[in-house]
Symmetry: none
Subunit: 360 residues, 2 copies
């Protein structure tokens, strides 16, 4: 295959070429090189590089600056590269087709074709989104070069099937440790069973009713779930310890402090000996009331819907840049072996963005 990206082909064909650059997390260098090289060939852009992250910008002095961002890594290849166009002529199969090289192709096409957009544009291509948060390239750029990410509004081209998804929920994981007193199970009354003592925790979880608040016009859907439980020492011993790991996914109208307080209050009165915050990342409000976001939503012509999962939208949010998800991929195929994309959505996304960014 040709290792030089051809940005003159349409976004669907370009997606296929991007998929053929296998780039699972940690192996993005070759693709980052190709993206950098292709962008440096465009005289209307200035190009920066940090690790395997590439940032390109127009500098037209427009009143507003829009960021188009996408990650260039994929989950591990599973015999699904190179890409393959289905005989139906519209379905493209392969690793990263939906998550999210179709979005990256749209970014690159906008970079190639809009030499004089009506707003200044910043294109961000970053690595390691599919792995642990501390490896995430967008986070690294935000730390090292926050000025590269300045803007009025950001669009993350993660797959949404062409809908606008606003905000994202926060996620808090806590470990609840319950203790008891060990004894031989033949004389259980000499001890205190920590698994039995955990019963009220499960009772409350089983009775939990999710809150579905409307935030900036979008209805979110919270969730409070045990994702692990562990207890027991030996088959004839009354266990003196039981640990329940609970994940709270919460709507972005709660702050991180409020979310933690909610969980503590929810389990108040349960015999918890240790309450350990294992992981916590805040949510992001949809921000659709921001003029730039509203203008984009009007241009797309659709309704926005809430994003339940955590995405890098919340990184922009933390930088003070309102952000939404909007991309051609279909999230239900993300991370699946039979990943695919409807190429008509890719062409449509390019058309929508180009039209909004060139309208007089």
């Amino acid at each position: 295959m040709d290792r030089t990206l051809d940005l003159t082909q349409d976004a669907a064909r370009l997606t296929a070429q991007l998929v053929d650059f296998a780039s699972p997390s940690g192996s993005e260098k070759e693709l980052a090189d190709a993206v950098e090289e292709a962008l440096r060939a465009l005289p209307h852009l200035t190009v920066e590089r940090y690790g395997n992250n590439v940032v390109a910008r127009t500098n037209l002095g427009r009143a507003e600056r829009i960021i188009l961002a996408g990650h260039i890594d994929t989950v591990p290849i599973a015999d699904n590269v190179p890409s393959r166009l289905d005989e139906d002529g519209v379905t493209l199969w392969g690793c990263g087709t939906s998550d999210m090289k179709s979005g990256v192709a749209v970014q690159l096409r906008i970079a190639q074709t809009l030499t004089e957009p009506n707003r200044d544009l910043t294109f961000v291509f970053y690595d390691n989104e599919e792995v642990a948060a501390h490896l995430n390239g967008l986070g690294h750029v935000a730390d090292a070069h926050p000025d590269w990410l300045e803007g009025d509004f950001a669009i993350l081209l993660e797959g949404t099937e062409g809908l606008v998804e606003g905000g994202c929920q926060g996620t808090l994981r806590v470990i609840l440790k319950v203790s008891g007193e060990r004894a031989h199970s033949a004389r259980a009354w000499m001890g205190r069973n920590a698994i039995h003592a955990a019963s009220p925790i499960l009772e409350r979880l089983a009775a939990y009713e999710p809150r579905k608040p409307v935030v900036d016009g979008l209805e979110f859907h919270e969730g409070l779930n045990a994702v692990a439980i562990e207890g027991g020492l030996a088959k004839n011993v009354i266990p003196d310890a039981c640990a329940v790991t609970v994940n709270f996914r919460y709507a972005p109208d709660r702050s991180m402090e409020e979310a933690e307080r909610f969980v503590r209050d929810f389990f108040a009165g349960c015999p918890i000996d240790e309450f350990i915050v294992d992981d916590h990342t805040g949510g992001a409000r949809p921000g659709l009331t921001h003029p730039a976001a509203a203008a984009f939503l009007a241009a797309v012509g659709g309704e926005a819907r809430p994003k339940f999962g955590w995405t890098d939208v919340s990184r922009f949010s933390a930088l003070g840049v309102p952000a939404v998800n909007y991309g051609p991929g279909n999230p239900i195929y993300a991370h699946k072996i039979d990943e695919r994309v409807d190429t008509r959505l890719i062409l449509e996304a390019e058309k929508v963005l180009a039209s909004w960014l060139t309208a007089p």
Copy 2:
């Protein structure tokens, strides 16, 4: 430490040496070797070995044969080996001090010192008592060499603090499997949480009230406990499986069938997808009305009390050999990190047995 057992030291010191041979279930070989070697040095005994089980016998043609049996394994070490004699001079600390190397020390001392007992003696040392019933060395010997276990009366030297304990409770272990439906925890409502579904199982266990029936004049004490719980796939996945392992210790007035029926009925209505009988051994009625048992009880001069734990008394019972528990260990310390024994009880048990077995 010296890897050769010194049977000429008193039973308390011998207990300390036995504890210093760490022998958690599955790792008894070194100790079995030492026991075999020490017994083979005694010309009045014939010695047999099967796996890590050692059986030694006198062959004096006496009218009665008494079996003295004990297991040589312990629960896992928990930083409580080697043994340590307290500064009070009588308390010996360490894994297996009460359960039941003090009993094994008494067996070995009787084997060493009684070259011409008034009854023929069979000494049985076996492995894997603290783990699943199918691994139990006494069971293996009973299957492969039932003639080695022939006798008129058996004393199992499990810890009873020097009292005679009759009968034993049965033990049934079941695994209750609860299923759900997997989903990403960001969209928990797409799945069904198996850990939450296990809540009624724990609720019932927490509310359980034990039965205490009187059987052949002795009051037993039942127990129903979760000894393990396990559930969870990944930190962001709603778990589709949860398993609760439950141990039922029941009085010997219930048959095995009745015990299993009780547990099934107890959890009736809980969302259990699989009810797996993982291990089951019946109890044994006290049997103190047998003449050999009565004679021993008279010699000890005490009252009998019920045995709560399952012991291998029930294996002898099944072979047609009446059996009781009588040993120096204190059962309340069994399986505890702070396991200990009162060494005065060890010396007393040796004295009582030697006196009964040498009386004219």
